[in-house]
């Protein structure tokens, strides 16, 4: 039972970070219909930038964190303007490939600047574990779970009540209608890219401090969110959250119980097996808009 609980708690924590990154993924998809395969590189870049600011030694943790977010916001706007905007209305394959190209460029930048070795990441949270009944849970986990929950609530209110959030939902509903209501769709696209970059950077910093180190392999998370968003529904924000938690728990449980039988690596492949099943049974996911087309 303890083993199960430990796995489930780990799953919820990692799942909450998936949810965060998936949120960025879904926001971009909702606004502009683009699938962003560079989301993982945003995460790595965010973690490295935060690390670089911290290790300069002159900036305390909290301002460093906000500097990282500011950097990500600017990066998102720049990339949208330079690379993504010409792609609007192009076929799916071009859009997919341009984000892959982008992810390659960002990876090259990260490798060129910081190399490929794992860099130690300072522990942002105290290391003494908290006992949950019989199960010890590290404080880093609780902090990241708490901050993710806070962020998700923040974004939900943002989309529900703020002017910009409502404009983003309008754009997602119909770009033409949004334009005729005086919403600048271009600004919404830029905004959605910077939000995506920001949430990924937060995910990167949290993950870096939980694991105690950063390297390029964190970018794999960008591919892991594909099953998450499909499970939740590509165009649903609550779906991203629920999907993230489910996939996080699923991969930890299947990894924990099946790895000894199959000899490792189950954790990495389980979300993708789930992905195939979801696509077969319910391609629009749990909360996605049902789009029926028969040929």
């Amino acid at each position: 039972m303890n083993f199960f609980l430990q796995l489930a708690i780990n799953g919820v924590v990692i799942g909450s970070i998936y949810a965060l990154v998936a949120l960025g993924f879904v926001i971009i998809y909702k606004a502009s219909g683009i699938i962003n395969f560079a989301q993982g590189e945003f995460l790595v870049l965010g973690a490295y930038v935060c690390l670089a600011i911290l290790s300069s030694g002159r900036v305390p943790v909290v301002p460093a964190f906000f500097l990282t977010l500011a950097f990500s916001a600017v990066l998102g706007v720049l990339l949208e303007r330079l690379i993504l905007r010409p792609m609007i209305g192009e076929p799916v394959i071009s859009v997919i490939m341009v984000t892959f190209g982008l992810s390659n460029i960002l990876r090259a930048v990260v490798q060129g600047l910081w190399g490929t070795d794992t860099r130690p990441f300072p522990a942002l949270f105290p290391s003494t574990p908290v006992m949950f009944g019989p199960v010890p849970v590290s404080q880093g986990y609780l902090w990241s779970l708490g901050s993710v929950a806070l962020l998700l609530i923040l974004f939900s209110t943002f989309f529900r009540y703020s002017r910009e959030g409502i404009a983003m939902r309008a754009t997602a509903f119909s770009q033409q209608v949004a334009l005729s209501m005086g919403i600048s769709v271009k600004r919404i696209f830029a905004l959605s890219w910077s939000i995506a970059a920001i949430v990924s950077a937060i995910g990167g910093v949290l993950l870096g401090s939980i694991r105690g180190g950063v390297d390029g392999s964190l970018a794999f998370l960008g591919l892991k969110v594909v099953p998450v968003t499909i499970l939740g529904g590509l165009d649903s924000i609550q779906g991203a959250i629920v999907g993230g938690l489910i996939i996080g728990v699923l991969e930890n449980l299947s990894g924990g119980y099946l790895d000894p039988l199959l000899g490792g690596g189950v954790k990495e492949v389980a979300p993708f097996i789930a992905l195939v099943l979801i696509l077969m049974i319910r391609p629009y996911g749990l909360f996605g808009k049902v789009h029926i087309e028969r040929v």
Partner: protein
């Protein structure tokens, strides 16, 4: 003198070679291609072989993605299926390449059709994700099915041989790989003059109208997956004979991205484009290596940066092509050709 597009018969419209000159220049090119081993070093023959293999794979992917409009990110996985089934047949049952190469193609075609079945329901983005999942599932299988694949350590493949003559160097292997590549390119070129090929294109352009016109969309999508995977499987099989040792490291997701990059940069829906793209993407790291080697005197740090430089330049090439020349190198080639066709009276 020729003037623009002027055809009076269907046969002329369908012709592969528009002019006798085109036929002759292709003939000269093929002769030169097969004389290449007399001139090139073993290192460059390795590069040329890899180009030929990439051409086969890229043509295969273009049949599916460029001509039928089904995005596939499972190319690396299909290459792996071809390579490992070759190693299995060659090692365990001692079969010659004449048997293993086509059977590896057929096995991959079968696997490709299995992963193509979601295409009945899924389109565009969703199909891309299904094939992405296929990649990770095949990768997992390859790593864990140790009795066949040798797990992470990989497995070796005996040299291909023609009777007693072992094709154990790149120069010798070149004739095998290049002949298969030429034959498959011709098959693909002809495929799109047939009913099946035209059905593929109809599905890409508008699947609903294709269905209305009497094309069985699902059957042809599956067929396209099959033909495409056959090509990729043959490429994987030849890759096994060339590399001689195959391990999961030969087939990461980045290989699938490389192949997609080839058909994007070369030109979607163009056989010539697949060839140009394959040449471009395979030569890119080689030229970069030469360049960094040449500049290493002036900038000593450059050699360490080679790996990231290769990734970055590849990404940049894809992004720039998509923004500035979405139709790829093939379109550029046609523009240049058309300019010279009527030179100096282009208007």
């Amino acid at each position: 003198m020729r003037t623009g597009e002027f055809r009076t018969t269907y046969a002329a419209d369908m012709a592969i070679f528009e002019t006798p000159l085109a036929r002759w220049s292709l003939g000269v090119f093929l002769v030169l291609l097969f004389l290449l081993p007399l001139m090139a070093t073993n290192y460059w023959m390795d590069v040329v072989n890899r180009i030929c293999i990439a051409v086969i794979g890229a043509v295969g992917l273009n049949i599916l993605t460029g001509f039928t409009g089904q995005v596939s990110m499972g190319n690396a996985a299909f290459l792996a299926v071809g390579a490992y089934s070759t190693s299995l047949m060659a090692n365990r049952w001692d079969l010659p390449w004449m048997v293993t190469v086509p059977i590896a193609g057929l096995v991959t075609a079968l696997v490709g059709m299995v992963f193509g079945t979601p295409s009945l329901r899924l389109k565009g983005l969703y199909l891309a994700m299904a094939t992405l999942a296929a990649h990770f599932i095949v990768e997992f299988t390859v790593v864990h099915w140790e009795s066949v694949t040798g797990g992470v350590n990989g497995t070796s493949v005996p040299a291909a041989r023609i009777f007693a003559f072992a094709l154990d160097s790149d120069t010798r292997l070149f004739y095998l790989i290049a002949s298969i590549a030429v034959a498959l390119v011709f098959f693909a070129k002809n495929l799109f003059r047939t009913k099946v090929g035209k059905a593929f294109i109809a599905i890409r352009d508008q699947d609903i109208s294709a269905e209305v016109m009497g094309v069985n969309v699902y059957k042809h999508k599956l067929l396209s997956f099959g033909v495409s995977s056959f090509y990729v499987g043959v490429a994987g099989s030849l890759l096994a004979y060339q590399a001689r040792i195959i391990s999961p490291e030969n087939f990461p997701l980045s290989v699938a991205i490389d192949y997609l990059g080839m058909i994007i940069i070369g030109g979607l829906g163009s056989i010539l484009g697949s060839i140009l793209g394959a040449i471009f993407i395979t030569l890119l790291p080689e030229l970069l290596r030469l360049l960094t080697g040449a500049l290493s005197g002036a900038l000593p740090g450059l050699v360490q940066l080679f790996a990231s430089l290769r990734i970055g330049v590849f990404g940049l090439a894809i992004v720039l092509f998509l923004i500035f020349e979405p139709d790829g190198l093939a379109a550029r080639w046609h523009t240049i050709k058309n300019y010279w066709k009527l030179y100096p009276f282009s208007y």
